[in-house]
Symmetry: D2
Subunit: 333 residues, 4 copies
């Protein structure tokens, strides 16, 4: 299978390295309008071709799969042209700028029997896979909440706000963990510098009293990547910046009972037990993801992080942007 | 000065100990309807009187000041009766259940020339005093945001939700640090157990793009008390659970300039420098607060944490409750 | 049972409070040469008698047990007089200034059928009890090492060096956990200020390749209380400054095998698994210890932290002092 | 300048990458007896030659500098042959297996006017450079102690014990920071698995009451890289595993005075102030080091981490091995 890559900025080299190192796969051509990229590419991968013209990648008859690793506002055009030329597409997150764009790409791929994968890399980390396993095995019991703090200093984007930059990680993870469809989004935030929100807080309401919250911030002096997940039986803390013990599971909980002396009164009782940090598989997530995409194409299977998954994330992002403009009015999904 | 205390539950003993140990002050009488409290009181303070009838405290001619250390739904009645009987009142936070109650108590105290202090204890900690000093001295520059994470397992309240339980701390600190009046409140959250919200997220909009956010949660497996404060020049992290170095100030920032080559393009540049943890005064906050209240009464001065300060916090709490019922509709203040 | 306490400085009030609050026990008399202690005592325990003359405690016919809570150089004289007057004695750690003194007190107590308990408080903490349980149940497998870091700024002692001040904690814990008798002690260190060692490093050799190491330091800018315990099957980290999760057990290990291709070559293989933090009982250690002493006296049983345990710790301290004077010459035990 | 590299195992690729990326420098040939290394090399550096025979590197007339990146027991022979063939040598730490070997290589290089650099990489990190600056500027005042904890699980070596594996880092840093020559070494430790010490504790005595201690351990469940450095005026903690704030400087200290009331009594007083974490330069240490070596050769200057520096470290290692065999007998230097 021959891969073409459009975009060789910050993330592109990782995409190239991973697709190139898989068995039976090679990166044939990389496109970037920045001419400095050629030397960077050649230094590490002298055999891979380079072009300043992305059309060369999108239309080449020798290319089977196109990876779109460019700013979000270019995804739709690039992916569309690649699909029209019969290529499978691997697209950076967030999938597109709008629900309408995403729907159109999905429809086009379906029609041409091509695969779309949206690069929700976190879903392939050992940590998220372990959390998925714990949730699916009902180890946490029914979920109560998902609450993520994802803050750091910069990197400011010019074209998108901090929600579109940082929240897709959490939104794709929620989408992966929580079976029910979200009901509504509330977003608040503020713009302090270049006209886009740099601090934002998003609440997503799910059925059955499950609530999710994401705190994203480009103006934090410290980098934090911590998620609390509370369940009926157990609760966990995922600190992605820990080298080891990324996930800590607490055998703690709260339960309700009726006061025998007063049937109208509910009593809350606490349970506190051991903490447990399961070993998490140490793999490069992107390697697992690219390998999985190749396998899906070969076996004609739909990846779980397909265009539909990308669309579900874009739907929440779009709703969050609408909500934040009205200072938190709930937007139904 | 003779103090009477109503309520000898969790916090009452601290109030008694502090008022009792001040010079020229003594606690004369403690009231609690729970008869077990008498033995607990006598074990440590054999000379202080006890009564199961709070009216004894509220009406005693030998008492100058009444401290109300009971659940919030009782504050209004107890404080009102104390004021009517000519006593100064020291009231637990939150001040009252409603803006109307708070306004009535303030008006009553004014009319009778009595003092009200609301127990916003955190304002008297070394950490908050140091932050106040940094903000007032413009060391942080203009404020961008105040973002607090205040979560733990329990302690569930039956009569109030997690906002009324945990957020008053942050709301009183914001009120202390930010000169401008808040404009609007957005609150989201969910009830999982006993019919009151146990997870909640509050955004407060201030003028000049200052935004505050408070994350409160009774269902967290870990206890966190961390606040990020971002300013134009510097940013700080206050971790109240650290034994030393509660406050860390980062000489980090972001600034904007115009691209000389393209006057329509804003460039964001980052500045990263040293971190500095100033030594913070180690005092018992409640001792400083009770001592200050006695001094305010003696010198006929209005404490900064007076009924008006209590009212400002209750106004936001009331708005948050209204907003949370509508899933985040902004409530103007 | 009536208790007399000699010494009401830093630790004395805790001893008084605990013995006084037990059922069937009361503190009858406290002695301290510092006249300011009387007011401090009376404020909290108005019913307990006070004297500036310790002989009143040591000889009173109304006292059954004497707690010696004074500097180490006074322990021998006070405990001896108490035993001669027929009292059981509870002595602060370290037991005595020398092996000879300890042996004499043990012999005297045996002759008069009296109990001695040495206040090795740490043995009664939830953390050490849990570690003891893990070691005794062979969960760690054979022990490899015990390595403790116990450093902070001050509190300088005038009469003893940092080894006698801080190491007794670890030496008593080792004595409790490791069944075999230590073979030899090596100590190094330095004096920087007042003529006693303020930085010291102690190695204790045990049979079967078990080695212990204690790093004590009065000149550290940070307080650390961390112990690593390595075993054949598992390893643990005990951080006594953590509020929760004081003990973390790592399912990690190393094992040896012979290279099938080269029988002379040993291969080392690593095993890495989950981490587990068992819940640790949250009790006041001193309460458990004082209660246990009363029980030992009532039931005429020998406490495990008896004079012999105190002697074993003093023997290592004495050897460490001898070794440090010769820059680390091993002293056999 | 043309570089040849002998050894392409764990560290070799870093040496190749750094020497190869410098201006005016290229790696011409890499030797390794393991044939798998060729593919690994070619994948990243297709233009660099490979040989299974190290003599090709040591004798090639086209090579100016040989980097010896092999196990320590091979250093002497390889470096000797390189020097005899007129090459400058860059040698992994520890320099050699013995003082005699080191002295011979130094003498040979001197005679042939060639440079030796020993790869004490840590001396080129931003953290150690900052500490050096603080020490040289007398910000810490006179040094009291250097105390390092350097422990982790594995990586067991077959030919050297944990001291020779891990302690060279600290010994080279001490040598860099402390001007005075060490006086004596005491080492204790134990062998649990493959016949070499896997746990060891080293004390180094310096003049003027400066004492250093290094705790190295291959059997620790957690990785720790923390060094405390205490001075008369200030103290610091260097935690090399922190992403930011690797160095924390505490404005804390202890001072002595004479009791005015009793001139024989020394009073110790404590000073506690702010903590400060200076920004540390973020460079790849090995890049700075290789670049510095090239510059030293070009300008015919002696690097500070020359053969003499390597020898001083080997001298302590040799003494530590002698001391550990006698359970801590001090070995004079």
């Amino acid at each position: 299978m021959r891969i073409g890559v459009v975009g060789y900025g910050y993330w592109g080299p990782n995409i190239v390295r991973n697709f190139h190192s898989l068995d039976n796969t090679e990166v044939a051509l990389v496109a970037d309008r920045n001419p400095k990229c050629e030397a960077r590419l050649k230094k590490n991968f002298s055999s891979i071709g380079f072009t300043a013209n992305e059309s060369d990648v999108l239309t080449s008859p020798n290319i089977d799969v196109v990876a779109v690793v460019t700013p979000v506002w270019t995804h739709y055009d690039l992916a569309k042209k690649a699909l029209e030329n019969g290529k499978h597409v691997f697209v950076e997150k967030p999938f597109t700028c709008s629900v309408a764009q995403a729907e159109e790409l999905i429809e086009l791929a379906d029609r041409k029997n091509l695969k779309i994968m949206v690069d929700h890399t976190f879903l392939f980390t050992g940590a998220v896979r372990k959390i998925k396993e714990l949730v699916d095995n009902k180890e946490l019991g029914d979920l109560y909440y998902y609450d993520s703090l994802r803050v750091n200093l910069g990197l400011f984007q010019h074209d998108v706000n901090v929600i579109w930059d940082l929240a897709p990680h959490d939104l794709s993870i929620m989408d992966y963990l929580i079976a029910d469809k979200p009901e509504a989004v509330v977003a608040t935030g503020e713009k302090h510098l270049n006209g886009v929100e740099d601090v934002a807080f998003i609440t997503v309401y799910f059925p059955k009293r499950v609530i999710a919250h994401v705190n994203v911030n480009w103006l934090s002096p410290v980098k934090v990547r911590t998620t609390l997940i509370g369940g009926e039986k157990k609760m966990l803390v995922w600190n992605d910046l820990e080298a080891d013990e990324k996930i800590r599971i607490y055998d703690k909980g709260v339960s309700m009972s009726t006061n025998p002396a007063n049937l109208h009164q509910l009593l809350v009782s606490y349970r506190s037990g051991d903490m447990w940090a399961p070993q998490v598989e140490q793999v490069e997530a992107l390697r697992a993801e690219t390998s999985y995409f190749v396998k899906c194409i070969e076996e004609n299977k739909t990846p779980f992080n397909d265009g539909m998954a990308g669309l579900r994330v874009v739907r929440i992002l779009e709703a969050a942007n609408r909500s934040i403009r009205t200072r938190g009015e709930a937007v139904s999904l």
